[in-house]
Amino acid sequence: MWKFPDPIGWIPPGDAGQALMRFIIASLNLEDAQKTAHIFREILEPYKNNLGWHFKCLMLLAKFFPHGFNALFRIGTSLFFEKRFMAANGDTGIVLAVSRTSRQGLKTNFDILGEAVTSEKQAERYVQSYLALIRQLITCMPPHEISISLKPSAFYSQIQAAAPEHSAEVIAKRLEPIIALLKKIGGHAYLDAEESEMLEVQKLVFKILYLKYGSAVRFVLQAYLKSSFHTLKWLVSINNPDDPIHFRLVRGAYWDHECMRAERLNWDETPVYTDKDETDLMYHTLIWQGMRHGLVVNLGTHNIISIANSINSYISMRAWGFECSIPEFQMLHGMPGVKEFGKILCQKGYSVRIYSPVIYPEGETREGMAYLVRRILENQSQMSFLVQHSGTKMREAVGILQKIPARKDLPDIIKQIRIPKEAA
């Protein structure tokens, strides 16, 4: 059956693709159609030989019918990119997103997108937006299933690495109403990981809130950071076994930024692994060690090997007699394979949660631009080593996933291979 081709594939690799991203960023703030068309031509003209027929047509349209170009481009951007990578915009969108995912047996985690916070007014607005979002979610899903993601830097415009204690104090205070509400209704919030510069702040905010609200607040750990094992040990040191720490383990989303920043600051070493294998190794080590120490490991990955490995780790840990939980799998809305992988894992009885970036309350796409650009760039090239699947790889991945044991069979498997704990 003919399938509409993935427009991500239309974006040319390399400089031409980056030029297109540059145009998308610039065009968002332009109101004048003529100017938009002019800028399109100016930015993409040097790459016209590398562009596909779609963009060549757009180039002609921009030259002769700027208004038509403007309308078509905006519709296209909205259909192909915003709708694909942003799960919802405003109340109605949220309700639809919840119903869409729950129909498929999936859970949702909501993250409100926005421009970088530069003022306290914006930070306060974020708090209010999240409170309103939670109230909206209560009306359309079971409260205990409500899950959100919070970026620490969105809650304090004066956040800074040299004063992590102060920054954390301000952020924790600002987040308290959100976490308290979630605690009351049984929901939870993940404290998202950002640039490595903000790691200390993230840790301190988490500590303050975890000690007060337990697992209503959850951590996000980035495996590509060279300090990630140290962070895991720190999590273990503050863990309360009666209400264990949940953390989402991701590979990390700011790899290019971290490398460029290290170069700009003249650091000999980057804070992140530059070799993909090292990141993978650390990712799997963290799964293993997290489970071994009784933390609840949830995997933010689309990597099938990691998913399979985490189930193996769980089986081994239980076989050795360690108490640990079956991981939840968390995937990004709009990324390749999410539907297919989510469906298979759900059928096998595993919990799958879709990380869903939303604009809330209803607003302009510009607010999610940084996120959108990052997703498009990740999808359309090998710029970041963290993207794995496409084409035939996808079919192989689905094949592997189908071989994973169902959740209900795990106790029998564990029973068969139970070995003394000392062997661990």
Partner: protein, 540 residues
Amino acid sequence: MNTLHEFKNEPHLDWTNEENRNAMRNALQRVKGEFGKSYLIIIDGEWSLAKKSFYSFDPATCNPRINPHGFDPTRDIIGIAYTAGPNDIDRAVRVAEKIITEWRKLGVEKRAELLWRAAQIMRERKFELAAWLVYEVSKSWDEAISEVEEAIDFIELYVRESYFFFGEFPTASLKSEENILTAVPRGPTAAISTWNFPIALAVEKIAASLVCGCPVLFKPAEQAFVCGWMAVKCFLDAGVPPELIAYLPGGDEVGKALVTSRGIAQIAFTGSVEAGIAINLSAAQTPGKFGIKGFEPELGGNNAVIVCPSAVHDSAIRDILHSKFGFNGQKCSALQRLIFVGSPLDCTPRKICEGVIEAAKSLEYGHPENPAYRHTSLIDNDAYKKVLERIEALKCYANPCYEQMLKKVDRGYFVGPIIFDKIPPHLGFVQEEIFGPVLMIFYARSLEDAVLLANSTPNALTGGVFTELESEIEYAKQNIDVGNFYANRPITGAMVGRQPFGGFKFSGNGKKVGCPERLNFFLNQKTVTINRERYGALLK
């Protein structure tokens, strides 16, 4: 000598490392314990007192417990200095003249070794030097550490480049004639530094002069002489012969005596336009033993940033804030005039303007010993009064669209951000550098008009543009009259080696610091021609 590696900027300190934060806290504690000491005149390695003394104060605090001198009962005295008298200056000049031949003979490698040792000492004292900056000039932790790193960069760059400058370069030669271009030191330097970068710009002048074989007579800024003394100490502790650096604190009288001294070959100066012009005049009228005095000034700026419709809003807001309110606008590279292309009702000007105002409201002011505060006090009462006077004068023409209530936190010289958006662009006050947290917003119909507006002041130091269009970047790059042009980033924070710094018009003489060419100022070029022909025979 070790292999000469390529110049690389000093790695910036990682504040996420707790050890670094603790080291800074400890350094602040240690430095606090040193408050109120005397920093004597240094000539020929000897320390001496003078009759007239003066003080430097912590601009961001008051503390009645340290009040032994009755000078200003409300402030922490950071240090006491003694004004170098005419005899001191004469003696310093004589010592410098005496050592010059010896220091020149030492050769570039030995000089380099000593200066590298000084850079290493600065690395070891990084936190201590930064702590002095925190207290004496009210720099935030990060600004302070960055300044020390910049100082190290200056030494590292200049020392490397000096190997090249002291080489012998063949020019067009004949069979019978060998032609070489080489360089020799000019003579003693009067280094007159400023308070806003009291370590980095002191080290810049001292290091450039010393690697070129020229002794230095250094006058630190009156408000920040302890920082200057600490910088000099690093060179002396590294083993630089004491005859080569004189530390001569004082006010205008010391500056004037140095500038007019017959034993001075060149003057490296950072400061105001008025002082720069006066020095230029005096120096020209008082040639000395080394001939006409060289003069390289780094003066003020009245810098503009142009925002085009395609600018990315959040990053533009962040960078505008940084350019304007970093170190309270007390940098010559700081932004003063923000020019939007478009009308106030257009999307980009409206949103960025709102964003800048909201962001300015959110800035937190306090004593910089607390790392939470990136925004601190102005340097002293004179600066405080001057900024307030300018604000009042501007208010005669327009009400500010945002004004944080002027306040003195803990009786420091704190002035909150003030933004004007309806000031007539050609008003006299707009043409002047305010050197404080005052931002003026203007609108232009086109990029061409915006550039004309940007160029409408007597200064030409830094400037920038925010746009996603290469054609606009190109136009601005070609047409804005500035020494340092930036696109889509803050207009402050030039890095040694990466962004050589300096302006023209009334901002400087078009020359740069932080680049190899800076060393030319301290050198005389010498052409050597050797005839090899004798009676028609070539004799090698």
